[in-house]
């Protein structure tokens, strides 16, 4: 698992990268009431806003961590956005990307580095 400065986690599944937000981020956001997911087969550049997460009080963007194509989204979040709070690292995942070069993930933090950042 890799972590970004923006509190996303990235997990490699075969040639895909699964993206979600960390437990720390979910707690900071508070109760998530709406998740706007990207359309599949969308090409995104690193830093593109791909997901909008709305808590009771505010909206936050989730950025594409690397360049690639959105190939799957977690449709469950449309009806049960609270999964982001209940299980941020599991059922609360956001989208899967097809990434040309998985080596692009090397730049991100490992778990220890991320934990140091939020400490």
């Amino acid at each position: 698992m890799k972590y970004t400065q923006e509190h996303e986690w990235l997990r490699v599944e075969g040639d895909l990268v699964v993206v979600g937000i960390t437990a720390y981020a979910a707690e900071q956001l508070g109760d998530v009431v709406f998740v706007e997911l990207p359309e599949i087969e969308t090409q995104v550049a690193q830093g593109d806003e791909v997901v909008v997460i709305e808590s009771v009080k505010a909206a936050s963007d989730i950025l594409a961590p690397v360049e690639g194509e959105i190939v799957e989204v977690n449709a469950k979040l449309s009806d049960t956005p609270g999964l982001v709070n209940e299980d941020p690292l599991g059922d609360g995942w956001m989208f899967k990307m097809k990434v040309d070069d998985l080596a692009a993930l090397d730049e991100f933090m490992d778990e220890d580095e991320y934990n140091d950042m939020i400490a």
């Binding site: 109760d31 009431v33 709406f34 706007e36």
Partner: protein, 375 residues
């Protein structure tokens, strides 16, 4: 943030795990460990305790000792029937300016020989100066050394009655002074959530003990500003500086209910408040725009500032959302905003621009959720 003022109960908020944020110049709890959603729902099903000590508590005492003097004086600044307010009764109102805009909203109570006025934190210094300048026949002073707590929700009356037995007999907007452990509590049956409940002014020296006594009741949870905002939005209540301000008249703000007959054209004391020309005209003829409730379709909230359009494509914006978010009790997004009067018809569909997409929203009656006041 060195300038942030601290509430008298600051240490209690920290002890309760409150997440503190700046609000109106104060370091205030936005939520506690329960979180905004559960705090909101808890207030709707049991009871929530809010610290609103940042608000201004003001005493208006007539120099001649006659309450009528204070009532008539305050009527020079607000389009509300204060003279007709009975002792021990409270009423909603607002200061207007010469252009008919709203300077602040308030609660005014007749306490027999003086008036007790509660105003918003962000406006309280300006309100005090405004009253001191406008009410030369009264002594106007900010109350110091008292916290203000709100206990709200269906269990509020049972909880408070266990400490002060006769408060269960108060009706909505009744006010009374009751002793508790050697101090005087100023108690109103009112609030800002749409729930039955109380607002209680308590001397600082007893505030922590009183708050902890209430929190010791299993029905009571501490509630932060986050849930306070979602609760008042569901109740269709205005937040000053957002839903109403100097650019909105009381008629545009859909606050005509707060302007009693005595102050309207043909009434015993018609006019005589700042902006009366415009406000009386709008009361008679209606305003060009009005504050309405909006229910966005789907689950995407429409936040404050969202531009509203009459059609799904083309045209200029016709209005703007002034408060918007998610209503936990409705499990749906809700909003309030201003629209031209022809569109202010229940069931009308308008379109809010959410991140570049126009999404439909339906004009809806306020409040979104019926109030449960004890009339």
């Amino acid at each position: 943030m060195a300038d942030l003022k601290r509430l008298g109960l600051h240490d209690l908020h920290l002890a309760l795990g409150g997440k503190m944020v700046p609000f109106a110049g104060y370091d205030m709890p936005v939520q506690y460990p329960l979180g905004v959603l559960k705090e909101h729902l808890h207030t709707r099903t049991a009871a929530g305790l809010f610290d609103v000590s940042h608000m201004g508590q003001v005493i208006v005492a007539p120099k001649d000792g006659r309450i009528e003097t204070a009532a008539l004086a305050l009527e020079r600044l607000i389009p509300v029937d204060v003279l007709g307010l009975a002792p021990g009764r409270q009423r909603y109102g607002f200061f207007t300016d010469a252009a008919g805009g709203i300077l602040d909203d308030l609660m005014v109570t007749n306490r027999g020989d003086h008036l007790y006025v509660v105003v918003n934190a962000a406006c309280k210094e300006a309100d005090l100066a405004h009253m001191q300048a406008g009410l030369p026949d009264c002594d106007v002073g900010m109350v110091g050394g008292r916290a203000l707590l709100a206990l709200q929700g269906p269990e509020a009356a049972a909880v408070l009655s266990r400490l002060i037995p006769d408060t269960g007999d108060f009706a909505f907007m009744d006010h009374g002074i009751r002793p508790w452990q050697g101090v005087d509590l100023w108690i109103s049956r009112s609030g800002y959530t749409g729930e039955d409940g109380y607002e209680i002014s308590v001397p600082d020296l007893a505030a922590r003990a009183f708050a902890e006594r209430l929190l010791a009741d299993p029905a009571v949870q501490p509630i932060g500003l986050g849930a306070r905002d979602s609760l008042r939005l569901e109740a269709g209540l205005c937040l000053y500086g957002h839903d109403i301000d100097t650019t909105t008249s009381p008629v545009e703000g859909a606050l005509t209910w707060a302007m009693q007959k005595a102050r309207r054209t043909g009434g015993a004391r018609a006019g005589g408040f700042p902006g009366a020309d415009r406000i009386l005209r709008e009361l008679a003829e209606g305003a060009a725009r009005s504050r309405v409730g909006l229910r966005p379709e789907g689950r995407a909230p429409m936040r404050e500032g969202t531009l509203l359009y009459a059609a799904p494509e083309g045209g200029d914006p016709v209005g703007r959302i002034t408060s918007g978010g998610f209503g936990p009790s409705l499990d749906a997004p809700i909003a309030m905003g201003y629209l031209p009067s022809p569109l202010c018809v229940r069931g009308t569909t308008v379109y809010g621009d959410v991140r570049g997409k126009r999404l439909p929203a339906t004009v809806t009656a306020l409040p979104f959720r019926p109030a449960t006041y004890k009339r």
